[in-house]
Symmetry: C2
Subunit: 458 residues, 2 copies
């Protein structure tokens, strides 16, 4: 590992876009959750695929770690250069390259954020639906296989990446996937890279599916007496095949956080936030079908809205859940859990988590993309309080075990990064050896985001 050699080799390629200042390195070494700062030796700001290729070729030659950095919003320390080396910031590769409206797709650079993309699409009548709460980069979203509130309707990044360009560990540039809607020509490299967290290649271009902005949109909030009622309403709604565009759960504590951060003024009870997309008739039909099911579970306080501003406020509040949770225990850090279970096991999973949190005396909110069987507990804790840290670990370990016992997964959308490596063997068993063989075959010098995703890859 010769980081200095790599930096010297990259100086002529990048000039002042190779930055060694303390401030820029510190910004790239920070994270939204609880991982210790981890500064790269240098931050590179390439502007083109050719420059990314040159960076990787040099780092390959000098065995220097390279960790891609999009918006740095990932929650498991994914983007931290824990073994030093280069942080490859995609921020300058942030252009829309082509809007193919007639094919319902768009070609973008990886550093473009999802909000900037939707801003650029505004005049076209089309939108890109995947929305993690954060204004993440599309490259980071692809790399973590992100989803968000609308995945129940439009899918995750897996379903929405049609094709991509990537630079592999030795600097080779490949294209995977096709602009056609389907293809059966060999190994699905595009979807091997989606979710690979920067450990197999750096994504330099993405072709993404777009959706037509629906003719009619209607959203509602409603509340339930118990968590079970709210979650059982979700289960039956999904089982009935009602085409929900969004169906989000928030527990009492989460609602308290929304009230504090966003002045939501909601009664402190479990809530569902829902949205319907379609034709006016279709939306009416779906909303009625949902209303009937919700009534069976004693839903009350229905507040409907068709106005875009009100909906924007609702989803902004929802997207700020991470920060709303923080208001419940200021000055602490957050662990954000992310299990996802088969929909029929969702009530067990949520009530089990609530019981464990209560038993362990932890301050936490629960919020989730429950239509997918996915929910998050944002647990607040003091990293200097050893006993509290131990209780947090007891909680997250038990939750991961519960997810696997229920036939689910330890991460529905956030990914593995540093924080969930310890669960990989339990979730994947022998398959882990296959992942390691792929990693070894495609990045034999282990320069791409070393220390992440796979146990023992470092």
């Amino acid at each position: 590992m010769d980081v200095a050699g790599a930096i010297a080799a990259l100086r002529p390629v990048l000039g002042d876009r190779l930055v060694l200042s303390q401030a820029v390195r510190a910004a790239h070494g920070a994270n939204e959750t609880w991982f210790p700062e981890a500064l790269p030796d240098a931050v590179a700001f390439p502007g083109t695929t050719a420059e990314v290729s040159a960076i990787l070729a040099a780092c390959h030659a000098h065995r220097c770690p390279v960790t891609a950095h999009g918006a740095g919003s990932s929650l498991e320390g994914h983007h931290l250069a824990v073994q030093g080396g280069i942080s490859l910031d995609t921020g300058r590769m942030n252009r829309v390259l082509a809007v193919n409206a007639e094919d319902l797709n768009v070609v973008v650079q990886p550093g473009l954020t999802r909000e900037a993309l939707n801003e650029e699409l505004r005049a076209t009548g089309l939108f890109f639906p995947v929305d993690p709460g954060a204004n993440a980069s599309l490259g980071g979203m692809a790399a973590t296989r992100a989803s968000g509130t609308t995945a129940v309707r439009y899918g995750t990044m897996r379903e929405n990446v049609l094709a991509l360009e990537a630079v592999m560990a030795d600097g080779r540039v490949i294209r995977a996937g096709s602009r056609a809607r389907k293809s059966s020509t060999g190994y699905d490299l595009a979807h091997l890279l989606v979710g690979s967290e920067g450990t197999l290649g750096i994504i330099t271009e993405l072709t993404l599916r777009l959706q037509g902005i629906p003719e009619a949109v209607s959203a509602a909030t409603c509340r339930f007496a118990t968590v079970e009622d709210a979650v059982n309403c979700v289960i039956l709604t999904i089982q009935s095949g009602i085409a929900m565009a969004r169906i989000e759960f928030a527990d009492q504590m989460m609602v308290r956080g929304f009230n504090t951060l966003s002045q939501a003024g909601l009664p402190e009870e479990p809530h569902l936030f829902v949205e319907f997309h379609g034709s006016p008739g279709g939306v009416r039909e779906q909303a009625e079908a949902f209303g009937e099911i919700a009534a069976e579970f004693g839903a009350g306080g229905f507040a409907w809205t068709d106005r875009a501003e009100d909906r924007a406020r609702l989803w902004k509040m929802r997207h700020d859940a991470h920060y709303a949770s923080a208001t419940l225990a200021p000055g602490k850090r957050t662990v954000s859990t992310d299990i996802c279970v088969p929909i029929s096991r969702l009530a067990e999973a949520v009530t089990g988590a609530q019981a464990d949190l209560a038993r362990l005396g932890l301050v936490a909110t629960i919020v989730g993309h429950v239509g997918d069987g996915n929910f998050h507990c944002a647990v607040r804790f003091d990293p200097d309080d050893g006993a509290e840290v131990a209780r947090v670990h007891a909680f997250t370990d038990a939750l991961a075990e519960a997810a696997l016992a229920l036939g689910g997964t330890v991460s529905g959308e956030h990914g593995i990064g540093l924080g969930k490596i310890k669960f990989m063997a339990a979730e994947h068993g022998e398959a882990l050896g296959i992942m390691q063989a792929i990693k070894a075959g495609l990045d034999p010098r282990n320069i791409l985001n070393p220390g992440k995703l796979l146990p023992g890859a470092d």
Copy 2:
């Protein structure tokens, strides 16, 4: 390569389920299209995952080729044991292992066929939507990333495989994916195996998404004066976001074939066959929206039906297209092309193909899942007529080039097998090297379906 050694090792494991008879080997060496017979040395009929594992471990030890065989309906010679060795027939692994109705999924063995699965699901109100024309095995469908008439609405095998179990080249058994609707925990091995054509592992179990049988279904046929009108109608329908469940094109020659084989009694003009799924109101809305667009392109002869028997007859006729095409030139063989292009380029692609067929004087039908931008030319030819064979090659080469030039792919759903290997470099460029590295890493002795999918893998 010690085939005899492998056979000797497998004898005690499989007993009389290891078959060396000429008749059984010949049945496994035949194909639906134009590839020469290629007999395996023996056919194995394992009944369990453990037996598949034992077969691969023995074949790995003896460097003996193993080619999985589902229903043998693939169109590019995929299942032919072109280097001899063992044909691994999944026909005895044909059980439904669990119907998880409350989670809208089902766990099956790979040898189960799609028709048998839907038969078993009949009482549940659920169905499995992916339908290649043939009554293929679900393992074969996953291995070729198959789709069919309903992919425009429900996706291909890629979107419908949630999880799988597979035996890798050395006999290791892995599980990939999860029963949860989404997951972000490492490399997407499930979707690396989907479409890998038995070259990376043998699929021994599949968890598949199910759909609720729609409340209302309506189907129609209509005809157009020209191919351009029919295809432009499709393009506008898809661009308008109308939720088609099926939208299939047939050219004049294809209609002639349907009339001959299935007594369809349709006027010999280009046709669309469409189907709508949803609530009664939703279906009405979609059908009206489609009708308006079709009218713009001069559609006539609309025949609507809501009766299940009529629909079954319609789709049976469509599914028999391969055999209907054969009636146009009895005694010859068929090459079935399979390009898929971005929807906006579909009219160019279809009319280009028609013009080339006419110019080269070839007898062929055109039929397609045009909602995906995918269509097939079934070209009839005499393998002993060298000049005709050369014209067929000129046609298929030009078609593949056109697909790539239009931003598409050389195979939308049939896969590569033997027949399309020669296009892999043109479609994938540098990415081919990455596919080869994965193959080398996961099957270092190249025992899994050698000679297929990848150039130079043998």
